[in-house]
C-alpha cells in the first residue's frame, strides 16, 4: 500500500510542485519555440512525454547494467533512439505535425528534461517509479506548453486550437472541427505575442505567476543557476575539478 502511494506521488509531483518548465526551468527552448500555436504545443508535449516515459523505463531497467563511466553516452543513445522512433511515427501518421515542429522534433534529444530525469531519477529508482515520474513530468511539460501557447495563440493570432484538425486526423475520419476564432482579436491580432519577443515575455510572466503561487505555499522561487538545472552538471568539468559554478562565474 505504501508503495502504491509513493508511485502516485512520483506521478503528481511533476504536474505542479516540480513542474519541469515553471519550477525546474528545464526544456526552455521547445517551450518558447513551439508555443506559438496550441495544436503544435500539444503535439510537441505528447511526443516529448512518449520519449520521456519510454526512456525512463528503459534506463531504469538497465540502471544496474550500464557501467557508470559510459552512462551519459548510453542514456543519449537510448533517448535518441526513442526520439527517432517517434519522429518516424509522426512522419507516417501525423505529417502535418512533422512540418509544424520542423527541426524541434529531432531536437527533443537535447531537451534537458529528458536527460535530466534520466540522470536525476531513472538511474536511481525502480522501473515503476521511473515510469510514473516520466509520465508526470511529461504531462507537466505538456500542461506548461498548453498554458503558454493558449496565451500566445489567443493574443497573437486571435484563434484557439487552430490546426487541431491535423492532429485529430490521426484517429481517422474526417473531422471538421478546426478550433475557434476569437472575435475581435482575430481581425486585430497582437502579432508580437507569436513572435520571439512575445515568447520571452509570456514565459517571464508565467514564471512570475508561478513564483507568486509558490511563495504563498512557502516554496522557493524558480531560478536558473547555470549548473544546478543542467543535466550535464555531474559530468561537467566544473564539478569534476572540485570547483563550483560560482567560482567559474567569478573568474
Amino acid at each position: 500500500m505504501a508503495e502504491k502511494k509513493s508511485i502516485g506521488k512520483e506521478f503528481t509531483k511533476g504536474l505542479i510542485a516540480e513542474n519541469p518548465v515553471f519550477r525546474l526551468v528545464l526544456g526552455t527552448c521547445p517551450t518558447l519555440a513551439v508555443s506559438t500555436s496550441v495544436a503544435s504545443a500539444i503535439g510537441m508535449g505528447i511526443a516529448a512525454t512518449a520519449v520521456l516515459f519510454c526512456s525512463n523505463i528503459v534506463i531504469s531497467a538497465l540502471r544496474k547494467v550500464i557501467p557508470q563511466k559510459v552512462r551519459i553516452p548510453a542514456y543519449i543513445v537510448i533517448i535518441a533512439s526513442f526520439v527517432t522512433m517517434i519522429q518516424l511515427l509522426v512522419k507516417a501518421f501525423v505529417p502535418a505535425l512533422d512540418s509544424a515542429l520542423g527541426v524541434y522534433l529531432p531536437l527533443i534529444v537535447v531537451n534537458c528534461i529528458i536527460l535530466g530525469r534520466a540522470e536525476a531519477f531513472a538511474s536511481k529508482n525502480a522501473v515503476l517509479a521511473s515510469a510514473a515520474d516520466g509520465l508526470g513530468m511529461g504531462i507537466g511539460f505538456t500542461t506548461a506548453l498548453f498554458l503558454m501557447s493558449t496565451v500566445r495563440e489567443i493574443l497573437g493570432s486571435g484563434t484557439f486550437l487552430s490546426g487541431i484538425k491535423d492532429l485529430l486526423a490521426v484517429f481517422g475520419g474526417d473531422i471538421s472541427f478546426n478550433g475557434f476564432t476569437i472575435p475581435f482579436l482575430n481581425e486585430n491580432p497582437l502579432t508580437v505575442f507569436v513572435l520571439a519577443p512575445g515568447g520571452f515575455f509570456v514565459f517571464g510572466m508565467m514564471i512570475a505567476l508561478s513564483n507568486k503561487l509558490a511563495e504563498r505555499n512557502g516554496k522557493p522561487k524558480a531560478e536558473i543557476n547555470g549548473c544546478a538545472s543542467c543535466p550535464m552538471a555531474s559530468s561537467c568539468a566544473l564539478i569534476a575539478d572540485g570547483k563550483k559554478c560560482e567560482e567559474a562565474d567569478a573568474k
Binding site: I76, L107, V110, P197, C230, M232, C236
Partner: protein, 195 residues
C-alpha cells in the same frame, strides 16, 4: 561571395539562433551573468559548431548514400558528444591555455540544442559544404553577439529596483524579450542589401 555574406548576416542578425530560433536558451539564461563567462562559452560554441558541421556533413552524405537518413539524429548527437570529448582531451594535453579559457564550457555544449540544431538546419536547408560551414560560423557568431549583449543588459539589471514578483528569472526573460525585439528590426535588412 555574395551568397556567403548573405548567409553569414542572416544567421547572425535576422535568424539569430537564440533570439529568433530559440536554440540554446539554457546557456543564454544560465551563463550570461558575467561578460567574460559569456564570451568564453560563446567562443566554445562557435568552435564546436563549425567543427561539428565539418564532421557531420560528410557523414550525412554517407548516410544518404546508404539510405540511412533516419539515423541522422542518433548519429549526429553521438558524433557531437564524441567530438566534444575529443576536443577536450586534445586541448587539455596540448593547448593548456586554451583549455583553461574554454575547457570548462565544453561538456555543457554536448547537449546544447544550438549545436545539434545548426547541423540539422544545414541539412534541412539543403546547403552545400561551404554554405553549411558559413552558416554554422554565422550561427556561432550570432550566439556570441546575443550572449555578449545580454550579459551587458544583465549587469545593468543588477543594481535596479525591480518589483518583487519579477525579481530573478522573470525580469531576465522580460529583458530577453526586449533584446529580441530589437533584433526584429533586422528583418528584411539582409535580403534588401543583397537584392
Amino acid at each position: 561571395m555574395k551568397i556567403a555574406l548573405s548567409l553569414l548576416l542572416t544567421a547572425i542578425l535576422t535568424n539569430n539562433f537564440i533570439l529568433c530560433k530559440f536554440l540554446g536558451i539554457c546557456p543564454f539564461l544560465g551563463v550570461s551573468k558575467k561578460l567574460n563567462t559569456a564570451v568564453g562559452m560563446s567562443a566554445a560554441v562557435i568552435f564546436v559548431m563549425v567543427l561539428a558541421t565539418a564532421v557531420t556533413y560528410p557523414i550525412n552524405t554517407l548516410l544518404k548514400a546508404n539510405n540511412l537518413e533516419y539515423l541522422q539524429t542518433i548519429v549526429f548527437i553521438l558524433v557531437i558528444a564524441a567530438l566534444v570529448q575529443l576536443v577536450e582531451i586534445v586541448l587539455k594535453k596540448y593547448m593548456v591555455s586554451l583549455y583553461n579559457a574554454l575547457g570548462i564550457y565544453l561538456p555543457l555544449i554536448t547537449t546544447n540544442c544550438a549545436v545539434l540544431g545548426v547541423v540539422l538546419l544545414n541539412i534541412d536547408n539543403g546547403y552545400n559544404f561551404w554554405q553549411s560551414m558559413v552558416y554554422s560560423l554565422g550561427g556561432g557568431i550570432g550566439f556570441m553577439v546575443a550572449m555578449v549583449m545580454f550579459a551587458g543588459v544583465r549587469e545593468r539589471l543588477e543594481g535596479c529596483d525591480i518589483p518583487k514578483s519579477l525579481q530573478g528569472l522573470p525580469i531576465t526573460l522580460v529583458a530577453a524579450s526586449l533584446v529580441s525585439m530589437s533584433f526584429l528590426g533586422f528583418a528584411g535588412l539582409v535580403d534588401n542589401m543583397f537584392a
